[in-house]
């Protein structure tokens, strides 16, 4: 449920976890990011950082500048002033990301895990089986058949948790046990009902289904998209994956390596929750791509 009044849960002398609800729910996540934006705009003295997630916001503050009671009261005022969810609209750029599904990088990573850690079913096979799909083609079609909402950012720098906006394209996947010790940068992962692009070579637990040459985080800031920022995506942004063949994948990879790849983004796009609800209501849920 979405709570009428947020719960404030203290985390030591300088953090607060503000819980807005207790479920995974798009409207709740939208509210989290809309409220985060409001609090950011308010520039509250003594507020240091905001870490919004699925259903909650972790707040860090300087208790020598603002007391726990005062920051709580101030944030509650902004929560009260939020108005109706239906009327909310956010600027929500759409990033287009090419993916080579069920590719050589994915297979090599899976083979390495099987050889060094433990035998497991090939991830795309497991995804096809558990989600009742026809095969790899439908896996690619379903995964690339929807816009994704950036529901959270973090765990590791630049890692965005993406949830499918089209319920017909939602899949589920168990996590690796034990986790992988490494995952190639650019791997497309799926865990629970969340998909992601690995921003760097890191350990990982999501099932892996494809690979993109397009970076989503770059601490060296070489490409134009990273000129002012290190992480491509922010909560409230959207992502659209599109399937490519090896030739196109290699072309993009060369552009990235040459430092002249331009990220494909519709930065004018807005997201209206009323329009989204209207579209959802009109969907024939049994139709599948």
């Amino acid at each position: 449920m979405i709570y009428d009044k947020p719960k404030f849960l203290p985390g030591g002398d300088r953090f607060i976890e503000m819980e807005l609800g207790d479920e995974l729910n798009f409207d709740l996540n939208f509210l989290v990011h809309a409220l985060t934006a409001k609090i950011r705009e308010a520039e509250i003295q003594g507020l240091i950082e905001l870490l919004p997630n699925m259903a909650s916001i972790v707040i860090s503050y300087d208790p020598d500048t603002i007391s726990y009671a005062d920051i709580k009261a101030e944030i509650l005022t902004h929560h009260l002033a939020m108005g109706s969810l239906e009327d909310m609209e956010l600027l929500s750029p759409i990033y287009y990301i090419p993916v080579l599904y069920c590719d050589h990088v994915t297979r090599a990573c899976w083979e390495d895990y099987c050889a060094k850690i433990t035998e497991k079913e090939y991830d795309p096979d497991l995804m096809v089986r558990l989600n009742d799909l026809d095969g790899y083609d439908q896996l690619a079609r379903i995964h690339s058949g929807t816009e994704y909402w950036v529901a959270a950012l973090g765990f590791y720098p630049g890692l965005a948790s993406l949830i499918a906006l089209d319920p017909r394209c939602r899949m589920t996947a168990p996590k690796y046990n034990p986790p992988r010790t490494w995952t190639p940068k650019g791997t497309i992962g799926y865990g629970g009902s969340v998909t992601c692009v690995y921003p760097a070579q890191t350990p990982g637990g999501y099932q892996i289904i494809g690979h993109t040459p397009v970076p989503v985080c770059d601490i060296a800031q070489t490409l134009p998209a990273f000129k002012d920022d290190l992480a491509l995506l922010r909560p409230g942004d959207r992502v659209r994956f599109f399937p490519v063949e090896r030739e196109e994948y290699d072309y993009v990879e060369r552009r990235v390596e040459a430092g002249n790849y331009v990220h494909n983004v519709a930065s004018y796009a807005k997201f209206s929750i009323r329009d989204y609800h209207k579209w959802l209501d009109g969907l024939e849920m049994k139709e599948r791509f």
């Binding site: 203290p10 607060i16 207790d22 909650s56 973090g154």
Partner: protein, 324 residues
């Protein structure tokens, strides 16, 4: 400039309070774990308390001064010698060009801080010089010291022979037992009364499988309230699982039955509950405790935690310094 002859065990450049403003992108603050000893080290050499310095962990490095410098060592005792002569802790010392500072394993404590007058002069990344090893950024090339590498030092006006007054030193225990402050929350209501009592009344061993990302604790079992067991499926199946949420620094993060104190280089979010949080006033103790040492936890209020932090901050000032 200072040349690295031996690296020690993951010796890194840190500054205080570390990286701010990028937590939401997935960058934890980093910075020194024992920020009390760290700030005293800087004050000794005439720096600002938060200036960049070195954090040595368990085994210190060997360094060669290419130019005369004023430096100071604080925290754990790593048996430092300057050209073979024992170097006192908690005191500023002059080194001449060509002199070698050689350190060994920590005899007391776990982390030793080396400050240099003028501070370590590396370019800041996202507003901080702190090294975040997991994210390969900050510090010198985003990594611990490397053999043959050089540590750039800024221009400073430190003098030797300044030392910390005895009564202002962090009081390291000598029996390997630590009383660590904790505050309840954010998710203490997932643990039942018996579990809360067990947490606060038991001894916990600091596992050797600990680093600047997290300190793993070994101890008795956890038991849960109805909330942890009877919940929506998206929370996950284990009682310690919850919907992904952000992690406070210092949170005691419970994965299954294993509590991990999330430290300065933590992963910033995940799907496990945080029943308790270690407040910043206890971080110096975390920084100086050694694997297999024992923690007991003292439950204090948020207000008390904030007051104790202010008391530590107050000792990080010129008033704590005398001439040797």
């Amino acid at each position: 400039m200072i040349e690295v002859l031996k690296t020690g065990l993951e010796t890194c450049v840190q500054d205080f309070p570390g990286r701010k403003g990028a937590f939401g992108m997935g960058f934890p603050p980093s910075g020194p774990i024992d920020h009390w000893s760290f700030r005293l080290a800087n004050l000794l050499v005439g720096n600002e308390p938060g200036d960049a310095a070195l954090e040595c962990q368990f085994i210190g490095p060997a360094l060669k001064f290419k130019a005369p410098a004023i430096f100071a060592l604080t925290g754990g005792d790593m048996q430092a010698k300057l050209d073979g002569e024992y170097v006192p802790l908690w005191q500023s010392v002059a080194a001449g060009a060509g002199q070698k500072l050689e350190m060994g394993p920590a005899l007391t404590g776990a982390r030793c801080y080396i400050s240099f007058a003028g501070g370590v002069d590396v370019p800041p990344f996202l507003g901080s010089r702190s090294t975040f090893v997991l994210g390969k950024c900050g510090g010198i090339d985003g990594a611990p010291l490397a053999v043959g590498g050089e540590i750039p030092v800024g221009v400073g006006e430190g003098i030797s022979g300044r030392r910390i007054k005895r009564k202002c030193l962090p009081p390291l225990p000598n029996n390997g037992k630590w009383l660590i402050e904790v505050c309840a929350g954010p998710n203490d209501d997932w643990i039942d009364k018996a579990g809360q009592k067990r947490f606060l009344e038991s001894m916990w061993k600091l596992s050797p499988k600990s680093n600047r990302v997290g300190f793993r604790l070994e101890g008795p079992k956890w038991t849960f309230t109805r909330k942890a067991i009877d919940k929506a499926p998206e929370n996950g199946s284990d009682p310690s699982n919850t919907i992904d949420h952000g992690y406070p620094i210092g949170a005691i993060n419970l994965g299954g039955q294993t509590p991990i104190i999330l430290l300065n280089d933590t992963l910033t979010l995940g799907g496990f509950i945080n029943p308790y949080t270690v407040p910043s006033c206890a971080f110096w103790k975390l920084g100086q405790s050694r694997p297999n040492e024992i923690y007991e936890f003292e439950l204090i209020s948020i207000e008390e935690a904030q007051a104790r932090k202010r008391a530590i901050n107050a000792t990080c000032s010129e008033d704590s310094i005398e001439l040797a």
